[in-house]
Every structure is written in C-alpha cells, then in structure tokens.
Symmetry: C2
Subunit: 208 residues, 2 copies
C-alpha cells in the first residue's frame, strides 16, 4: 500500500503542514507588509535603511501600487528579518483551537500489517500535527521486512510492554524494555522486532 492510498483510507493519518495553511490566504501583500513594519515600530525611512529599498518604493508596495520583484522581496525579508512564508501568512492566523478527541483503550482504528498491528488513535481529528498510534510488534526477525522503513518526519516511541530490538541504519541495534523510549528521524531506515515472549507493545507518535 502506498502512502497515498494510506491517506485515502485513513484521512486521520494526514498530518497538517504549514504549507497547506499558506495556500488558503488570498494574499494582500501590501497590507501584510505594513502590518509587519508597524508591528516592528519602524517608519518607512527606517525600513528603507534596513532593507535598502527606497522609502517611496516601500510606500508603493504597501499601497499595492506596484508589485515588487522577487529581488525586492528578498531585500524586504532580509532587512526586516522575516522569512518569505511569513510575508504570505494570513494576517490573522486561523489558530485551530478547541478540538479534542478521546480514544478509549483498545478502541482505536485497527490497522494490521504483516509486521505490526497498529491501532490508530485520535482518528476523529484530521489535520493534526502528530499521528499517535499503539502498535503490537509482530515481527520476530529481520527477514520479516523487505527493506528499511523510511518516511518523512520524526518519530517517538515508548515501550508499553514486552521487549524489542530497535534496528536503525546508522546505529547498532538496541534492546528496549518496558518504559524505555527512542526519538529518531524517520527518514533514517528503521525497523522493530519483538524479542520477548509476548509481542512487544509500544506507543508511537509521528510528526512531519
């Protein structure tokens, strides 16, 4: 199953990125610039000195009389110590707030694979920054995997029960027991193997 298919079936697996947010805003560049400048407490003259753009040019940009060149925009962002995405960020950011999703024990969305038995948590919420799930590690040896698991983002896991070995591309394998945790870059190849009597159970959180 590809990542895309994954996401079609499990929309809750979609992780929100700043990129998406940006796209919505129908950008009023001038307005935004003025906001930034005034919030920094700068006059046009001061901003002019910091950016190397003429006072008049800044005025025109703020009043949407001209469309700055990319070059000019770079001077803006350098001079005012902002980054480009910030220039396009909606004036009032739509801070998501007030969402809450409870998942009772064993009541997550089951998602079994040959090597893991995942239980997705908080699937009622979409566009979240993290994707939490509880997993049972079925794999018992290296060969259960075709290749390293590798994907964008960072991952954190904590062993809930049992014992497992954490293999990774650039490190020696490590054994982890109940209560131990690892944080790692998920684009570094990694895989897990249960070594205890019972299949090891872990809590897993991904962010990208």
């Amino acid at each position: 199953m590809t990542d895309q298919q994954h996401q079609d079936i499990y929309p809750s697996m979609t992780i929100s990125t700043d990129q998406q947010t940006q796209k919505i805003a129908p950008i009023k560049l001038g307005e935004r610039l003025k906001e930034i400048r005034t919030s920094l407490g700068l006059t046009l003259e001061e901003a002019s000195q910091k950016t190397g753009l003429a006072r008049s040019t800044l005025s025109k940009i703020e009043n949407e009389q001209i469309s700055p060149t990319f070059q000019a925009m770079q001077k803006l962002t350098n001079g005012l110590q902002i980054n480009i995405p910030q220039l396009f960020a909606a004036p009032k950011q739509v801070n998501t707030t007030g969402r809450r999703d409870i998942t009772r024990k064993e009541e997550g969305k089951a998602h079994p694979t040959s090597t893991y038995e995942h239980e997705l948590l908080a699937t009622q919420l979409t566009n979240k920054k993290m994707m939490p799930f509880k997993s049972l590690i079925r794999a018992r040896d290296f060969d259960a995997y075709a290749d390293w698991i590798r994907h964008d983002g960072e991952e954190f896991l904590l062993v809930l029960s049992g014992e497992l070995t954490f293999f990774s591309e650039y490190y020696e394998p490590v054994n982890l027991s109940e209560g131990d945790s690892v944080y790692y870059d998920a684009n570094m190849g990694h895989m897990l193997i249960s070594v205890s009597e019972e299949d090891a159970s872990i809590i897993w959180v991904t962010a990208s």
Copy 2:
C-alpha cells in the same frame, strides 16, 4: 517560570518549526522553477499557457536573467498549482536525518512542578518537532491550579497507569483510565487531576 526561561534551561524543549528551516535556504528561484516545471513534464510553451506568462519570460526567470515580480510569481503558483513556500523550498532540503536518542526508563530529565512531576525524554536532541515526556499527576483537585494551562500547539497523552480526570475549557470533564488517550489543541485551557489511589502516570507528547 516563563516559557522563555523554560527554553533557556531546557534547550531540548525547543521545538523546531518549518519557518526556521526556510530561512536558511539561499534561494535559487530559477533553478527551482525549472525543477518544478520539468517534474510536471511541461514544456515552456505549456507552462506559458497554464500560467499566462510568456514563454520567453519563463525562460528568463529559469535562467535567472530577470527577477519576477510578485504578480508574476502569483501567476506561476496559480498556474502550476503550487504554493509559494514550495517555490522557496531548497532544491535539496537539508533533511535532518540520522538522529537518534534513547531514554531508558526513569532516566529522563526530572522536572517537578507543584502539580506535575515531569520526566523529559529525548533531551539529548534539540530542535525536534515533538517534545515527549512522562508525567506523574500530583494534583488532586481543581484548586491546585491557578488557571487553565494553555500554550501553543497540540498535545497527545496516553494514560500509563492510574486514573485521572481531564478538564478542558470547552468540554465536560472526562475520566481516563490506563490505556485511554486524548488528543487536543493545547491553546484550549486544560488541566489534569489524579483520581486513583496512586498518582496517575501518563505519556505526553507536544508539537507546535
């Protein structure tokens, strides 16, 4: 203690944002555009039709002969169905990779407060997207808190042992037992109170 002081003392509590990443890239806009266009399998002519910019103009932009105006850039992003930050993303993003940090049981960095007893995990890594920690909920009633706890980002928690009540600004209080989990927006006021014999223990992950 303010959030800033927090971060000074606990650098591992710093969470990296995409914004930071963007700033680093010394942008080669033309190169980037060409990459995007070719990856879409478009000729200059086709791209010209999609964007409304002349074939020659596109060529000049790609060869860094001219610096497109913001207007032109909007035509680009609209026509090619990309978003602006994407245009500035470094051709090869400096994907942090290969980091790994293991925290053995009980060996996190202790960080006690009047209401919680935190054990920060993966503190060897800085600039991570998530901040994981294990906490013992010391608070036994509402009054232990001066006010709602409220901060940026999203939070996920799973009860490891004991039982607790999750209070939040916009919802009725809920009881959570071992194995239950919640995902919520952290700028919605929230607080936790142990209700079991033993203080409840949870695993907590924050991202912003």
